[in-house]
Symmetry: C2
């Protein structure tokens, strides 16, 4: 990121320097990642080419050329958020055996993600789904697709736990909907100083992981 924020001399120097910096996917990814941080605090609606350019010491036209429209920038930011979330929360849980153990690891990773926020505004989807539910279009579609994938991942692991006889019969789709809802509520609670929010999430998960009698 440091190469994106170094100062530049005259306007022309800046343009030449921008030209070099903006070339290649690396700069694009760095801009997207910064857009995620901004959007976690102020919402994807609060993104603008001017704001990102100022924050990163780039020219606005350079950033705009890379992404085209604000909507494309927002969709790209959502993709970058998903990648960072996958690395921080999902990938570590995949190292744990499927089913109940993996679900416990997943929830532990998620609580870490919200408690020591990966994004400065906390959970990226908690903030943005509530904002974009009234705004049909490609950004909302991207966020909903990601939410569906996430709930689907939870439901699949719950099914594995049920198939392995680890838990009693369970409506896995409904339980995944509930767990996701509780995570979003816990994110808000954590940000507002409720230190028991992580514990609440763990207790809700355990209520689904009751072994068969």
């Amino acid at each position: 990121m440091s190469e994106l924020v170094r100062g530049s001399g005259s306007e022309t120097d800046a343009a030449v320097s921008d030209g070099r910096l903006l070339r290649g996917a690396r700069s694009r990814r760095a801009i997207e990642r910064h857009a995620v941080d901004v959007a976690s605090l102020e919402g994807l609606s609060g993104l603008s080419f001017g704001r990102l350019a100022t924050d990163l010491g780039l020219s606005k036209s350079g950033v705009q050329t890379l992404f085209g429209t604000k909507e494309s920038l927002q969709v790209a930011a959502a993709g970058s958020a998903r990648d960072a979330f996958t690395d921080a929360v999902i990938r570590p849980a995949l190292a744990v055996p499927r089913g109940a153990a993996r679900l416990r690891a997943l929830i532990d990773q998620w609580i870490g993600y919200a408690e020591e926020p990966l994004f400065p505004g906390g959970c990226f989807w908690a903030a943005n789904l509530a904002d974009f539910d009234s705004k049909p279009g490609p950004v909302r579609d991207a966020l909903l697709r990601q939410q569906r994938d996430w709930r689907g991942f939870i439901a699949t692991e719950l099914r594995h736990a049920a198939d392995a006889g680890e838990v009693a019969d369970l409506d896995t789709e409904l339980a995944a909907f509930q767990l996701d809802a509780v995570l979003v509520a816990a994110n808000i609670a954590l940000r507002c100083g409720d230190r028991e929010a992580g514990d609440k999430v763990r207790r809700v998960l355990e209520s689904f992981l009751v072994p068969p009698r």
Copy 2:
């Protein structure tokens, strides 16, 4: 509301007319109620004296005089939202006997509130708590107080159901936290076209209302 939106002639006429209109609590309440509608769609952060004045055909200075600061306007809007919510969701449920029956009525009223939205952007708290969790101050405090009261109301009714032997032993605080979380998730799902969201909420409630064995 109609007296607030009628057109006016010259700037001076408007000022005189505003003076009359703005007198008294009735106009204040009407402005607050419109602020709730705007905030349900664009968030309490999106409120401005200028926007409200334009929408209602009033002078900006007149509206500003009534509320003083933007923060006071936001807190007043939160109070107005709570009053409208109480009338639409809570009061009808209070007519039903305490415990399980009242909880079922409450959830039915809530689904109606979200399906045929009382506020154009759907649930007022779903949108604004997610926005204000990163913004400490009196607005966030007001929203959190309202959320606490709402969860407390649900928990109390769950306790009544348990005390009356209608439901098995239950962690009522945790169940209230879960129900509220599921309602917020259902609000987003409904706004994004998920017609089964109301049914999901009812199934979650019933999972808490299991009679003792």
